[in-house]
Subunit: 263 residues, 2 copies
């Protein structure tokens, strides 16, 4: 994301970050071969799919990294990618401690960022995985300093409670967890034994744990509602399927590689 | 690589392994969504560019991994990707201890593999980086059990001595370190302060440390000679440049994404 089209901030660092950079001319070097318009990376959590790409960002200048103390602990402990990066470009960590209702605002490249704690699960490799204490996953509220418009970004979201509802309502655009259509999708497809709730995701449909993401989005006043972080088992990926038609009826979009949004 | 077109063995796991799998129908699942025809991964070393892709191979069955005890130490120590993978598909390690002249032969999916110690450098993040003791980087000799034909694969090769010369000569096809054209290429291009030798690579041209890779390949009887692992600063990437023309004159090929070889 970018406020000025010059300086860019990445939300999570996906394993395929190399392909993403090659496909995005805005992120290409401008002032020499090892230059980069990427000003910072903001992590929601320390899930492998959100952090493995950090290893590919090791040949430019010092990486400016925003993440929670919990994610930082994983990335210097069980999966110490940040320690390994010290032998390359190095990392400067900007802590984003999670506070109920949202923590401090960070000014990054003309944008304002606020980490918001959301219900979720620590990664399987993390010692915090089994600790069912308070949530330490982040969603992020992003405000364009110029227009004041806001976007809510939450690729992992296990429940929409009162606090999450306020976040959704306070934004022009919401990008939320679209991992699963139904609670037992992986089990029914024979892909695993885990339910959505076990993995820290709220499915789109209502289920045994209560109303699904669709109801939460129906109740939300945002101008654009976009599902992101979609598992390859999710039937909404079939553009001609009934599930996709239902999303269209409700005015909910499905993110795709290379999607561009203006808030 | 594959002996039968059914079971495949990967040499190193590049960060862009996801894109590689998507681009290679032979590596797609056949018997269900999480199936994979990948039987094993063989690592030459623990360089980030050779191991980061392991994190993307965590959703199938147990990973069969062949690597040296030194690489295994890095990948369970400083950069413990293998430990993290234990929370997903898990890893079975097949040790390939390095012995002068080549260690034991391993039978993998109809192929025979032998690790050969070659001069090189441990990765920057490794505690072994500064230890200038014996080499612990591997090249691998691959033999098709049916035809007996051999391929030598050495993406990192800091020197071609007597032992390496024997490996090159004993093969029908050689794939060797093509990182740099000249010893000071990175410095001249303003990309860094390190010379080829500092990074454990033998440049194609002769240099202050002696004859380059071109002379070694000229003296080698292999039918096909291919440069791999080419840095983006290397002028041989320019298909119309004089350096590429020189390779053509010498009968040396330059590898490219998606290249297929039959030995």
């Amino acid at each position: 994301m970018s406020a000025d089209g010059e300086r860019w901030v990445l939300l999570n660092a996906s394993p395929d970050i190399g392909a993403q950079l090659r496909a995005s001319p805005a992120l290409w070097p401008r002032h020499g071969l090892r230059d980069s318009p990427i000003e910072a990376v903001v992590l929601m959590d320390s899930q492998i799919d959100h952090v493995a790409g950090l290893l590919s960002l090791r040949e430019g200048s010092r990486l400016q990294l925003y993440c929670t103390p919990e994610s930082h602990e994983d990335l210097t402990g069980s999966l110490p990618l940040l320690k390994a990066l010290e032998s390359y470009s190095g990392v400067r960590w900007h802590p984003m401690p999670l506070e109920p209702g949202g923590g401090a605002w960070h000014e990054v490249a003309g944008l304002r960022l606020q980490a918001v704690p959301v219900p979720g699960k620590a990664p399987p490799y993390s010692p915090r995985r089994q600790a069912e204490a308070r949530s330490d996953n982040a969603a992020v509220m992003i405000e364009d300093s110029a227009s004041g418009r806001r976007l809510f970004y939450a690729p992992g979201l296990a429940r929409v409670g009162e606090a999450e509802r306020r976040c959704l309502d306070g934004c022009d655009t919401v990008l939320v967890d679209g991992t699963f259509w139904s609670e037992d999708e992986m089990v029914v497809a024979g892909l695993g034994k885990k339910h959505a709730a076990d993995m820290g995701h709220l499915p789109q449909c209502d289920g045994p744990h209560g109303p699904g993401m669709l109801r939460a989005l129906d109740a939300c006043a945002a101008r654009r509602k976009v599902l992101i972080h979609i598992n390859n088992s999710n039937p909404i990926l079939d553009e001609d399927g009934p599930e996709r038609a239902e999303l269209v009826r409700r005015g909910i979009e499905v993110a795709f590689d290379g999607m561009e949004l203006e808030i």
